[in-house]
Subunit: 228 residues, 2 copies
DNA sequence: GACTTAAGTAGCAAATAGACACTAATTGCG
DNA sequence: CGCAATTAGTGTCTATTTGCTACTTAAGTC
């Protein structure tokens, strides 16, 4: 009876007392940010890809390898989100989990047995994984201005409208076209290609690629707006 | 023999195969950022405060409690930095570590058996802890514009020059006095008190306290400067 | 050819950031 | 006391950045 009340104490030492490694793999899908999940047949209805962590190997390398294995190709960006070990449920029963957030380009097909689900429509995850997704999306937002996350979320060649859409997605608000382009130009981050893409109606858009030029004197400014 | 090749398999389940919880406790000490360390008698010459993690308790709560126990009082700010588990050495022998960065006000005396060491003068830490410090300081920098880290690093009442000094410390560059104050004023983050502090020479400085007023329409802006 | 749609640009006005120069209040010293 | 030195705090000018409106360009649709 006591074991029923404290399930963790009843577990034998081994896999189930280890640490899980969870992957929140994100991409831009139309107007929504999508996360890769594995649908399950029973409760929980679906799960983030996860594995048990081999404590003898380097954790960042293990995460990269796991992401590559599950996606069939390396993600274009990956970073650790953090460790979570509160009382919340994890599919593995692990008491401690380390989660990573990865980014793949738009229109990357979901691997066999997995599917893209909009973060806003996410339901049926184990509670710890649910929290991981929220934290991971926050990490994307926080780091998008120090790492080229939005650029990596697109194909190698992309239009500026596509880039702006990704920024709007991550920031959660609309941006002004002219201002966006002007700021981008001033940052010397992209270079135009010779190609143009005609997307149905309207004028064809020029394709750009991410090609940051080294600028000196890039200094972190004081920002008070987001405090309090 | 097989056990010798895979050390983790040879260890009994218990402390040595567990996960450590490490604390990078920071404060501003004059012109330097200082970290709290415990001097050791032998190699490694000193160590960050750490404990083994009890996997059955909530990890964030455990970190807060550990910090409070070691400091004698709760830190004014604490956040998780991340999990590290590469090949690098940790005092405990733990293969996996979760580190937290905490902030205490300037001039907080080091607890019994510990001392403040400038991050620039840090030597003799186990390699994993050395890496933790670097990551933790980076985390402070990255989060100082979304959390009131600099404000918390001061006493409840502080002068604007002190605040500016902390910002300069964290940003690693000099700031312009008038611009700094103007930006601060526009953010409605501090309120003046009736007290003034006379610090040796010069005109006494008015004391302020951190009292953020709720502002609406605080929207995250697009920032390209730090990319590439 | 006229209408629609989307890309891309020009130019103006408001807000912001950086800098200089000043005033204010205190200590130290002759 | 009177004056230099030192630190706090402010006024104002200018250059840059940002937000916006309105425009031009180039395609598809009817």
């Amino acid at each position: 009876m006591r074991e029923r009340l404290r399930p963790s104490a009843a577990r034998a030492p081994g896999a189930s007392v280890g640490t899980s490694l969870d992957l929140v793999c994100c991409t831009a899908a139309g107007r929504h940010l999508a996360v890769l999940v594995e649908p399950g047949e029973r409760v929980p209805a679906c799960a983030l890809p996860w594995t048990m962590l081999d404590p003898t190997v380097a954790i960042d390398a293990a995460a990269s390898r796991f992401a590559r294995d599950r996606l069939g190709r390396a993600p274009v960006w990956i970073a650790q989100v953090g460790a979570s070990g509160d009382g919340r449920r994890h599919p593995s029963g692990a008491l401690l989990s380390v989660s990573y957030v990865a980014v793949v380009p738009t229109a990357t097909p979901a691997p066999e047995g997995m599917e893209w689900v909009a973060v806003t429509a996410l339901a049926g995850l184990a509670s710890r994984q649910q929290a991981m997704v929220a934290t991971a999306v926050g990490a994307l937002r926080d780091r998008m201005d120090i790492a080229p996350i939005a650029f990596r979320m697109l194909s190698a060649e992309f239009t500026l409208s596509e880039l702006q859409q990704v920024y709007e997605l991550l920031l959660g608000r609309r941006l002004h076209k002219a201002s966006f382009r002007r700021a981008l130009q001033g940052a010397y981050l992209v270079e135009p290609t010779d190609s143009w893409r005609s997307e149905g109606r309207g004028r064809p858009a020029q394709l750009f690629r991410y090609a940051p030029r080294i600028r000196r004197g890039v200094r972190r400014s004081v920002r008070f707006e987001l405090l309090g």
